[in-house]
Symmetry: C2
Subunit: 316 residues, 2 copies
Amino acid sequence: MKQTRITELFGIKYPIIQAGMIWTSGWRLASAASEHGCLGLIGAGSMKPELLREHIQKLRNYFKEKSISKPFGVNIPLIRGDVDELIKTVIEEKVEIVFSSAGNPKPHSKLLKLSGIKLVHVVASVKHALKAQDAGCDAVVAEGFEAGGHNGLDEITTMSLVPQVVDALTIPVIAAGGIADGRQIAAAFALGAEGVQIGTRFAASVEASSSNAFKNKIIEAADDSTRLVLKKLNPVRLFKNKFALDVIKAETEGASAEELEEILGRKREMKGIFEGDLDEGELEMGQSSGLVNEIKPVSEIIQKLLREFNGAVEKF
Amino acid sequence: MKQTRITELFGIKYPIIQAGMIWTSGWRLASAASEHGCLGLIGAGSMKPELLREHIQKLRNYFKEKSISKPFGVNIPLIRGDVDELIKTVIEEKVEIVFSSAGNPKPHSKLLKLSGIKLVHVVASVKHALKAQDAGCDAVVAEGFEAGGHNGLDEITTMSLVPQVVDALTIPVIAAGGIADGRQIAAAFALGAEGVQIGTRFAASVEASSSNAFKNKIIEAADDSTRLVLKKLNPVRLFKNKFALDVIKAETEGASAEELEEILGRKREMKGIFEGDLDEGELEMGQSSGLVNEIKPVSEIIQKLLREFNGAVEKF
């Protein structure tokens, strides 16, 4: 796989980022992705600052024991109430790479950059990509409508979004949304991306901290098994289980934001992803879950991605 | 651009199909696309059988005068009340290629195939792709959520849909949805497609029969200018003009199918696309409209697609 501004920026072998995913990408998944040549991200979205610190230290200890010297990063959702604490934690722990999402990077970018941190922001439209570039980000993730979990309001797909963001920016673009297969990595490069961020494929790995029940649901999913819901609150792509179907029904009948808040309640992600409550939990996964048919160790997933990528590129 | 089962099936130079589009792809657009090495389609969706016959004959006369011998096809939406009359017309006029959409090809495929017609059906999910293959289709168009005009119910994007359809079928797959640029043609091939179908880019051509007001709206559109609406009736992707925003508002408030029928009224597509009523008409276009910045003759559009494709492929 070719070297790009993204492999150079992070000092990684393959331009593949393992996405930060709540209840899924702790130190085990991130260390495995980084160890095998990608960039692993610890997902702080489901961690209090002290738990994040613990995961960072555990990853570092693991690398030390195995004499591994590889970069890794932390994903921080900026809408978190304790975002300043999370940022303080990554600075104190001398984390070198931060992927920010779900919010505006501007109020935080100066501090992060002054701390020597490489900053990448996740965007879902050209407008937000330009804002991230203006805020001093080193790169953006352009994430399409097909991505699992939280998503933009404009419903722009990876195929449409990536080339438009590439045309609008001078900083490098990482494509995300719908990518679970090496053919799609090749497609993302054809669109002008210099890296890809992959979530769902890595969520169905041995090293992911999510429940086996959730991982098996990714394996079970077909092309039409997910839906973007809760657009009046904060859009999120879910497997269409009982909870998601209840939400879809309420939305079809015109439920207000307040009524949806009521249905949503609290801790649905933990319930679904971590505890494996397949009926009442939120099962966040992307449309690419239809391409994922086996729970595998991260090393095997990466080898498979490379083989599929080479197969796709050879055909040109 | 490489030869595939799609170039072979139709006897065309480039594996590019100009989509059948209502009020847009009459004989002028279809003949221009076919003349310059692609497969042009006359869109019967906005034609009565006798008008379709006229367009087929005009295209043939034009080719005869210019001594051109190239294939072309007709797109027929199967939900039309007079679908049998349209099919009778293409058989009588000895049309060799039919693209069917919006319905089930099974009741019509035997007659079309017995008449020596090559049949391609447009699908938006793996399930419908398998049904089209079982019905005897020679190929399918796998069309993603980002496509303009009428669309599937499952909201599956081109990036996710194409490889899943390719894996499920033995017949060749044409990718559609979001493709307006040669980089995206390269991406579609990486995903395993053997051809692409392009709508919006060809709608903003000199030869398209749509109004200049509509074509200029395609030029004006940004990445976030369209929305898939009317999901309770028959989902359609529109530019977010006054009419579309009225529909979005009603849908957000939970409008029923009957209430949406009322708002929709009749002949909105003709009003918007053909007559250029930019407020009250339906302006069908895809998310790729954000990539279209100039109204050009078809020959120049095709040359640009080839240059962009080569630029994308050279980078591998």
